[in-house]
């Protein structure tokens, strides 16, 4: 089953849309199909349990056991490779 990633930002209008697409493209390029959904940061705690990983551009509340990577690298362009490595590491992808 493909891994499930939840991408969160403040309004789910701009930044999570771009971040979700970027992660999807990069992982696809490495041969991994993942399921990605996006939401507002405030919705993340309620949705978290259905996902293997949360990537967020802004701090989020308590999401239980689901791992969280908070980063703006996919927007600023600084530190993207390191974050992709982190994401693959958390998801156990190679």
């Amino acid at each position: 089953m493909s891994k499930r990633i939840l991408v969160a930002c403040g309004t789910a209008i701009a930044t999570s849309t771009v971040v979700a697409k970027k992660i999807e493209e990069v992982l696809k390029g490495k041969g991994h199909n993942v399921y990605i959904d996006q939401c507002k940061a405030s919705e993340a705690p309620a949705k978290a349990s259905n996902f293997d990983l949360i990537v967020t551009t802004t701090p989020i509340g308590n999401v239980g056991d689901t791992p969280v990577i908070q980063t703006v690298s996919f927007l600023s362009g600084i530190g993207v490779d390191a974050d992709i490595e982190k994401i693959m590491d958390v998801l156990g992808l190679e």
Partner: protein, 157 residues
């Protein structure tokens, strides 16, 4: 991506402001004046910026992408402001971190899924220091649009 439907010379500003609220008022007024957003957009932008800051430190310059919920938008558009002197924004996702912003893209967006192309162009420009530097040194509206247009044509999927 339909460039013409998002960018307009009348929505490009060269701003001489001291604070981001002053800047928001200028940009929002311009958007409201031309019917792109509702009166409520300004307050929504200000509140959203406090809760979820949109400043980004790019490789060389600071950029900001203020935006808010689509209920405040009538018609999609992007306003661009080039600041004479940088204005201080809080940095996205980093509490207590500030960034001196020189270029601002204010996004009036309704359906993000349909606007992926334009959002990718904006983020692409933020990650491209040459384009950002060129934009920050622009002197007139048509020059700003020409740079964005050229970048978007070269980077369409």
């Amino acid at each position: 991506m339909n460039f013409q439907s998002f960018f307009h010379e009348k929505l490009v500003l060269f701003a001489d402001v001291k604070t981001k609220d002053e800047l928001f008022e200028l940009m929002c007024n311009r958007l409201t004046e031309h019917g792109y957003v509702k009166e409520s957009y300004l307050d929504a932008i200000k509140k959203r910026e406090v809760e979820y800051p949109t400043g980004l430190k790019a490789e060389e310059l600071g950029v900001a992408i203020p935006h808010t919920d689509s209920v405040h938008v009538n018609k999609e558009a992007i306003s661009v402001a080039i600041l004479n002197e940088p204005v201080t924004f809080n940095h996205m996702g980093m509490e207590d971190t500030e960034v001196e912003v020189k270029v601002v893209f204010m996004l009036a967006i309704q359906k993000p899924d349909n606007q992926l192309g334009i959002l990718q162009i904006i983020i692409g420009m933020i990650q491209n220091k040459e384009v950002l530097n060129k934009l920050s040194n622009c002197k007139d509206e048509s020059e700003v649009l020409a740079i964005i247009k050229q970048y978007s044509e070269e980077n369409v999927d």
